[in-house]
Amino acid sequence: MSEVQRRKYSQEERSVVFDGEFMPHIDSMYNFAFRLTFDEDDAKDLVQDTYMKAFRFINSFEQGTNAKAWLFRILKNSFINDYRKKSKKPATVDYQEVETFYNSDDVDYQSTSDLRAESVKDMLGDEISNALNGLAVDFRTVIILADLEGFTYEEMAKILDIPIGTVRSRLHRARNLLKDTLKGYAQSMGYGRDEEED
């Protein structure tokens, strides 16, 4: 997404774009912000800040293009540049290791092969949510974008400023980590292989 100013919106047009194309995404934006920061006030600040920036740079948004992806990109950048900088423990991931792991073999699949769709469906919201929240921020982010918000790989690549191949491998790895956690929950909750929960 370039920052080229395509055209200037009139005052009235700006309101139309802002209210009609930006504000409808506020629930998704807040959910994303909250899952990045785990704090209501920080999430509120992040969303407010994002909307302020969106308003300020509204001329670089082309009407009719994907407003949600545009807003998510601003939010993600604000999180990295403003919030994460302040954070005392930056979550870093060695992507070299990720790629190697991804390309190595089928080891990932062995560990999750006995997690069943039925046990996952029986899990409570909290367990799923905790498993997601337990992932490192870069892994958590791709799951949020893909599975919670339904972005395509191409949109994710733009939002995150990474190549599509990296989106794919990071998502793949994130899902395997998530499955590992879910498998642990399933076992500790005693979901047997063929049990039926009432």
């Binding site: 005052q11 802002f18 504000m23 506020i26 629930d27 998704s28 807040y30 959910n31 909250f34 899952r35 209501e40 509120k44 969303v47 407010q48 909307y51 302020m52 308003f55 300020r56 073999d105 089928d106 699949y109 999750t112 092969s113 997690l115 069943r116 769709a117 039925e118 996952v120 469906k121 899990m123 409570l124 919201g125 799923i128 949510s129 997601l132 799951i143 949020i144 893909a146 599975d147 919670l148 918000e149 339904g150 395509t152 790989y153 794919r168 998502l171 793949h172 899902r175 998530l178 499955k179 879910l182």
Partner: protein, 90 residues
């Protein structure tokens, strides 16, 4: 999917290329359709038990994520305060 039986005698119990197959299934579930993806998917679900199980597990995970992790309640007045900030900035 047509065939939703958890197990079927027609399916082989070992997948010869788990890594490649599962990645393909995941891409199809992500809506990143590959050429001939639907046919390939149907074939795998009909014929390969590990692929069948993996597909349904991945599908279930996507569903629970979507239904159980997107309901963070929006704080009162957040939308209102954003509109106010924009008003003030004009």
């Amino acid at each position: 999917m047509e065939n939703t039986d958890a197990s079927s005698p027609e399916r082989k119990l070992q997948c010869s290329d788990v890594g490649k197959c599962f990645q393909l299934l995941e891409r199809i579930l992500d809506g990143e359709l590959v050429e001939g993806g639907n046919e390939m998917l149907q074939e795998k679900l009909d014929q390969c038990q590990p692929c069948f199980a993996h597909f349904h597990l991945e599908q279930a995970i996507r569903e629970v994520l979507k239904t159980k992790c997107t309901k963070q309640p929006l704080p009162d007045k957040l939308a209102e305060s954003i509109r106010q900030m924009i008003q003030d900035a004009r």
